[in-house]
């Protein structure tokens, strides 16, 4: 099982849960698995071509997947995945 941290803007898709479990041997597979359990989440993370949106950041065990293998980054049991969005507010 992989533990996935869900940021606040996506929690309405996970019934408010800040952390969900997912399966998959890679980030790509994990996203597809998440979509099965939480429909709509893939569209928030990926564009129409299935590529990760540029402002979406995914970390595996605190390492940015951009510096690993992107969507092909291998996941193993017990890994922790974080989805990190930009936060704009301040005023």
């Amino acid at each position: 099982m992989i533990k996935v941290r869900i940021p606040t803007p996506l929690r309405p898709l996970t019934k408010g849960q800040g952390e969900v479990e997912a399966k998959g041997g890679s980030i790509d597979e994990m996203i597809n698995h998440l979509e099965g359990a939480h429909p709509g989440i893939k569209g928030r993370l990926c564009d129409e071509k299935g590529e990760l949106r540029r402002f979406v950041n995914i970390y595996v065990n605190e390492e940015d997947i951009r510096f690993l293998k992107g969507k092909d980054t291998i996941l193993k049991d017990g890994d922790e995945v974080s989805i990190v969005p930009a936060i704009a507010g301040g005023n």
């Binding site: 940021p7 606040t8 803007p9 309405p12 928030r44 949106r53 540029r54 402002f55 950041n57 970390y59 605190e62 390492e63 940015d64 951009r66 510096f67 974080s82 990190v84 969005p85 930009a86 936060i87 704009a88 507010g89 301040g90 005023n91």
Partner: protein
């Protein structure tokens, strides 16, 4: 410059610190810090930097104080409603500490004025509430080579990070472009727990003072996220992105530009 007896008393709790001392307090007195946005984050940052004795504080904001601001923008008070935020904030700063020179800019930070303004300061604090301005500040600080203390708050989530241009990850290394309007909540309709502004804004002031003093380890190449619901901090490692369109080796952004203003459509 020499401190008067009154100043030595005023800053005694700083001067007592071996990491600060009289020498450090002088650095603070000579520092010029620009606060972009005299709102939620800018208020607490301005209060503490003023109390600390920062020599020059610049404030840029074109808004007027609104009743809905007072839940978190603590530098403004009920009688200030309808007044320019920069004027309201300047008065409070001067009341706290007459040593501080406050320069106000009752305008928006845009590509046209950003570089000239930022070049006149040593450190910049991002206290704005929208992505186009956050990206502009990041870019301007990169071109002007000024350290930037970034902050963001939304609902119960806060984030702070320090960006040392050309040395640590910039905002675009992590978030290349502003998200399209509506994909990430970013405006007033989303709400924010007011005290979060105090937590993140004071962390920004702490970072700015450390940069001025040259002490400790800055929050560079790290994003510190705070979850007020759980009262928990989490640190996310960042690093310079070789594909960064701004600070990477093959930049596509070579001059300042304004991003389209976002529309206020929150999707949750």
């Amino acid at each position: 410059m020499n401190f008067t007896d009154e100043q030595i008393t005023r800053y005694s709790r700083h001067i007592l610190l071996p990491e600060v001392g009289g020498k450090g307090q002088k650095k603070i007195a000579q520092a010029k810090i620009l606060i972009v946005g005299a709102g939620g984050l800018g208020s607490p940052a301005a209060f503490y930097l003023a109390a600390a004795g920062v020599g020059t504080i610049g404030l840029i904001d074109s808004d007027l104080v609104d009743l809905s601001n007072l839940q978190r923008q603590v530098i403004h008070q009920t009688p200030d409603i309808g007044r320019p935020k920069v004027i309201s904030a300047k008065e409070k700063i001067e009341a706290i500490n007459p040593d501080v020179k406050v320069l106000t800019y009752d305008e928006r930070l845009v590509a046209k004025n950003a570089l000239e303004l930022i070049r006149a300061y040593d450190v910049v604090i991002d206290g704005v509430d929208n992505f186009p301005a956050k990206f502009l500040i990041n870019d301007a600080c990169f071109f002007a080579e000024k350290p930037l203390v970034h902050g963001g708050i939304l609902r119960f989530d806060g984030r702070v990070t320090t960006i040392i241009p050309k040395k640590s990850a910039c905002y675009r290394c992590v978030f290349k472009t502003p998200p399209p309007p509506g994909l990430v909540a970013s405006c007033q309709e989303a709400g924010v727990i007011g005290v979060l502004a105090g937590i993140i804004g004071t962390l920004q002031a702490t970072e700015a003072l450390k940069l001025v003093l040259g002490i400790g380890r800055p929050l560079a190449d790290r994003m510190l996220d705070f979850d007020a619901r759980k009262t928990s901090f989490r640190e996310i490692k960042t690093k310079r992105n070789p594909n960064c369109p701004l600070c990477g080796p093959q930049p596509t952004i070579t001059e300042l530009f304004d991003h389209e203003p976002e529309t206020c459509a929150v999707r949750t």
